[in-house]
């Protein structure tokens, strides 16, 4: 898309939706940034020839005519969208009454403009970070917005489902924003999937702005179709004593480049990032997980586990960065890959960047086959080989699966993993 054309599209879209002037201004700036900035580089992940930048002009349309089958997929969720269309918004009344906001980004821009303006691309991520963040800032059409007021504790997990509409070829550019005020607590599940099998270029960003002393559990289960080429970016920024736990499951069937980045800005803040991924068939998934300790006494843990089948490629970059001044901080990470095919490729690159001496930093990485001792044990008890193998893999990924608080989701995720592993045998 030419810059002038892109600018015209963006401005027309912004006008159609009657967006506030500040937003149109930011979008216009982002168009200029997009033209100027380079694509981000991730070690060992080459995605430059992917059709990620084939993005349509944004429209304010909502998709008509969802079948009951599609609608039923989000039946138990608190918030459910297909493309830019909100299908279900069912935040429990008891939660709503405490001032919690859960709505789509378009609604938030209209009804909660100040909150959006103060947080969107302001703290967790800057719009002019690179070409892909600028693209999102210019062309984002919707997403979800969650706000939890100070001291509000939401006990039941909130579940959000977002389906990319691939019933016809079209791109998907969305931005999701989570803001938790002081000492609030929330447990959030974001499930990203596909409807249909047409080609799609998917750009999905999540920003989490965690206020002082707030606790956020964020589970992301990404299950996009093989025909989706995706850029997934989840960012967190933490104020003092905030806790953010990411549990991320990359169960996509298509090409994915993922950038998961958390900044421990506040003293005593803590982030735990757990990522699992299954790569199969011809797929490439590149996952770059970084936590940066800025605040003193901050704690970062990264655990990544991946299973690779067939001709697939899976790249895990784990980056622990402790900047000068983050006294008494810890950064730990573990990257493990299980290779189930001789034609597969796996990279586990655990990187430590340490600019401070009063720290404890470590990493471990391993790559291997299915544990022979475990297999032997299971086989010796009469368990057939395919089942034994499945059990060992299940155990390998269990560390992240068991972190999910909802039993229903644990089952759902196990089923997804089983399905991905079964693909191999088909």
């Amino acid at each position: 898309m030419q810059t002038a054309q892109m600018l015209a599209n963006v401005q027309e879209y912004s006008q159609t939706l009657a967006e506030p002037a500040w937003l149109m201004k930011r979008r216009s700036q982002a168009v200029a940034d997009y033209a100027r900035l380079a694509l981000p580089t991730f070690e060992k992940i080459d995605y430059h020839d992917w059709p990620l930048l084939d993005v349509d002009a944004p429209t304010g349309d909502v998709e008509p005519g969802l079948t009951e089958e599609v609608s039923a997929r989000g039946a138990q969720t608190d918030f459910f969208t297909v493309g830019d269309t909100v299908v279900r918004a069912a935040l429990p009344a008891a939660v709503r009454e405490q001032g919690v906001i859960l709505c789509d980004l378009r609604t938030a821009i209209r009804k909660h403009a100040e909150l959006v303006k103060a947080n969107l691309f302001q703290h967790a991520l800057k719009a002019d970070t690179d070409k892909l963040t600028a693209l999102n800032a210019a062309l984002m059409t919707n997403g979800f917005f969650l706000y939890v007021p100070a001291n509000v504790v939401i006990k039941e997990p909130l579940e959000i489902m977002q389906l990319v509409d691939q019933r016809r070829p079209q791109s998907f550019v969305q931005h999701n924003l989570v803001v938790t005020a002081e000492n609030s607590q929330v447990d959030l599940v974001q499930r990203l999937g596909s409807v249909g099998t047409s080609d799609a270029s998917v750009h999905m960003i999540v920003e989490v702005v965690a206020g002082a002393g707030s606790h956020v559990n964020f589970a992301g289960i990404d299950d996009l179709a093989a025909s989706a080429t995706a850029y997934l970016n989840r960012r967190g920024t933490l104020r003092p004593d905030a806790h953010l736990n990411w549990e991320l499951a990359e169960m996509n069937a298509g090409r994915v480049v993922a950038d998961f980045d958390t900044e421990l800005r506040g003293r005593g803040s803590e982030a735990n990032v757990k990522t699992i991924a299954v790569a199969n068939q011809q797929q490439t998934q590149g996952i770059d997980t970084r936590v940066t300790n800025y605040g003193p006494n901050s704690v970062a843990n990264i655990v990544q586990r991946g299973v690779i089948l067939d001709d697939a490629t899976l790249i895990f970059n784990g980056i622990g960065h402790i900047v000068h001044g983050a006294h008494g901080s810890k950064a730990d990470q573990e990257n493990r890959l299980l290779m189930l095919s001789s034609k597969a490729r796996g990279d586990a690159n655990p990187i430590l960047l340490i600019d401070e001496n009063d720290v404890e930093a470590g990493h471990a990485a391993s790559v291997g086959r299915v544990d022979e001792q475990q297999m032997y044990y299971l086989l010796s008890r009469g368990i057939p080989k395919p089942i034994a193998q499945r059990l060992v893999i299940r155990g390998f990924l269990a560390g992240v699966v068991t972190e999910l608080r909802s039993q229903r989701l644990r089952k759902r995720l196990m089923a997804l993993i089983e399905r991905r592993l079964a693909d191999e045998e088909a």
């Binding site: 070690e43 060992k44 690779i308 000068h324 890959l337 290779m339 189930l340 095919s341 001789s342 034609k343 597969a344 490729r345 796996g346 990279d347 586990a348 690159n349 655990p350 990187i351 430590l352 960047l353 340490i354 600019d355 401070e356 001496n357 009063d358 720290v359 404890e360 930093a361 470590g362 990493h363 471990a364 990485a365 391993s366 790559v367 291997g368 086959r369």
Partner: protein, 471 residues
């Protein structure tokens, strides 16, 4: 282990780098400052080289001009390549009797302890001063076995076929910019050929010395260890302190044939005005073992990632390294293990210490190729950051293209353990002494692998480096 207190007494009152002296030796031949195609031709002519080597140098020179600076690693912009002297010859001949070496050069190596070391425990020894080797000798008993130990210039003249067969095969000129530079202007270095089945347990040593200012030293070392043979090679490096910088851009190629063993030990202790940009590669054939033992104590900036290409079934490669970086020093080192054959194994153990604002960075690769079934790799990187000014990056890449391999990697970065300090100090040991003991314990896996005399020397150097690092 050396007695550290005693070591401190020995060096008390000296400057912080004891090899920083220089001698006023006027070279008998020099190409002067700067590098042009004419300089490359002059070097080749001065050495009476065959045409193919001149052609090789010229081609490499053009590759050097085309290649970019390294994309990752330390900032090299301070390196003055314009005023550098690329070729300086200190003597007209190579000496086999120490008494014949010109007095001033002899004094230098006497002060560095080179001849004493040879008398005591070496099978052979050589000394390079600026661009060329001035002295080399192999003890007669070892020479009888058919081992060739000479400088690389002489090897080109005396063993043209053997030389041409192996030269430049592991490190082609396009490997990186400084390898290309070496290919264009290489001079000196060590050539070792160990015939099939000959096992040499007593070490052979080469000592590299830069004396003049703004000097480029382009050592080229080529080692071939025949089937079932073994060799233990040790090199040491020092230079004077100057305000201007010097460059040591070495290329080392080691071929370890089937069932052979090579241990290559480097104690790099350049003064803090030397850029040490090295390209070291080895290949290990079936059931061969290649061991790099690499100590980096000096230099201003070191970039060195020795590799082992495990090309034969059952080959084994190891890297055991320590790096110590003080003020204004960046030790950017690591190792590369490339598993290209079945049942190959590798191990990397890296120990680093940063102090007084120094940077120790580990950069390494373990790669399992398509045909590396049954292979295994182990990597361990430990770093101690002594103070609030120093930094450390650990950047390992693990690339796996085979489903039937396993790899383990671990790294730790921390300050000196407070628990250990507390334990020692509660027993009446001073903080300085306690810190030194902890550091010595930290590097022990490395020193343990050195010939005894080197271990003593290294402990002394580290103890010396740790001077004044407390309080």
């Amino acid at each position: 282990m050396a007695e550290p207190t005693k070591a401190r007494e020995v060096v008390a009152g000296t400057d912080n780098y004891e090899y920083g002296f220089h001698d006023d030796v006027t070279p008998v031949y020099s190409t002067g400052e700067g590098l042009t195609e004419a300089v490359v031709r002059q070097i080749s002519a001065e050495k009476h080289e065959p045409q193919w080597m001149l052609d090789y140098r010229l081609k490499a020179y053009h590759t050097y001009l085309q290649l970019p600076e390294p994309k990752v690693g330390p900032d090299l912009s301070g390196l003055d390549l314009v005023h550098m002297k690329y070729f300086q010859k200190a003597t007209d001949k190579k000496y086999r009797d120490w008494n014949d070496v010109p007095d001033k050069i002899k004094q230098t190596f006497d002060r560095l302890g080179v001849p004493q070391a040879e008398r005591k425990y070496l099978a052979g020894s050589s000394a390079q001063y600026e661009s060329e080797v001035v002295y080399h000798r192999m003890q007669a008993t070892f020479e009888k076995t058919g081992i060739i130990f000479t400088d690389t210039d002489t090897a080109l003249q005396k063993y043209p076929e053997l030389f041409k067969k192996w030269f430049g095969k592991l490190v082609p000129a396009n490997t990186n910019k400084y390898a290309a530079l070496n290919c264009a202007v290489w001079s000196g270095g060590t050539f070792i050929y160990v015939p099939k089945g000959v096992k040499l347990d007593t070490p052979i040593q080469s000592y590299f010395r830069i004396n003049a200012e703004n000097t480029g030293q382009f050592e080229r070392t080529l080692i071939i260890v025949g089937e079932g043979a073994s060799v233990n090679y040790v090199e040491g490096c020092t230079a004077p302190n100057y305000d201007s910088d010097s460059l040591h851009a070495a290329v080392v190629e080691v071929n370890v044939l089937a069932n052979a063993t090579c241990r290559y030990t480097t104690i790099q202790n350049w003064s803090n005005n030397v850029y040490s940009l090295e390209t070291k590669r080895a290949q290990a054939m079936a059931n061969a073992t290649m061991e790099w033992v690499d100590g980096n104590l000096g230099s201003k900036i070191t970039m060195k990632y020795p590799s082992v290409y495990l090309n034969g079934e059952g080959a084994h490669g190891t890297m055991l390294s320590i790096a110590v970086a003080g003020q204004n020093v960046d030790q950017d080192t690591g190792a590369r293990m490339i598993h290209n054959a079945k049942n190959t194994t590798s191990s990397i153990v890296s120990k680093s210490i940063a102090k007084d604002g120094g940077a120790v960075d580990y950069r390494g690769t373990v790669r399992f190729g398509r045909h590396s079934d049954g292979s295994f790799a182990h990597v361990e990187c430990d770093t101690i950051i002594m103070d609030d000014l120093s930094t450390s990056d650990t950047i390992p890449y693990n690339e796996i293209l085979n489903g039937n391999v396993s790899m383990e990697h671990e790294a730790k970065v921390s300050k000196v353990s407070e628990a250990q300090l507390y334990y020692l100090m509660s027993r009446g040991i001073s903080e300085q002494k306690a810190t030194e003991m902890i550091i010595m314990g930290f590097v022990e896996p490395f020193t343990k692998q050195l010939p005894m005399e080197y271990a003593v020397e290294l402990n002394r150097l580290i103890s010396f480096e740790m001077e004044g690092s407390i309080g």
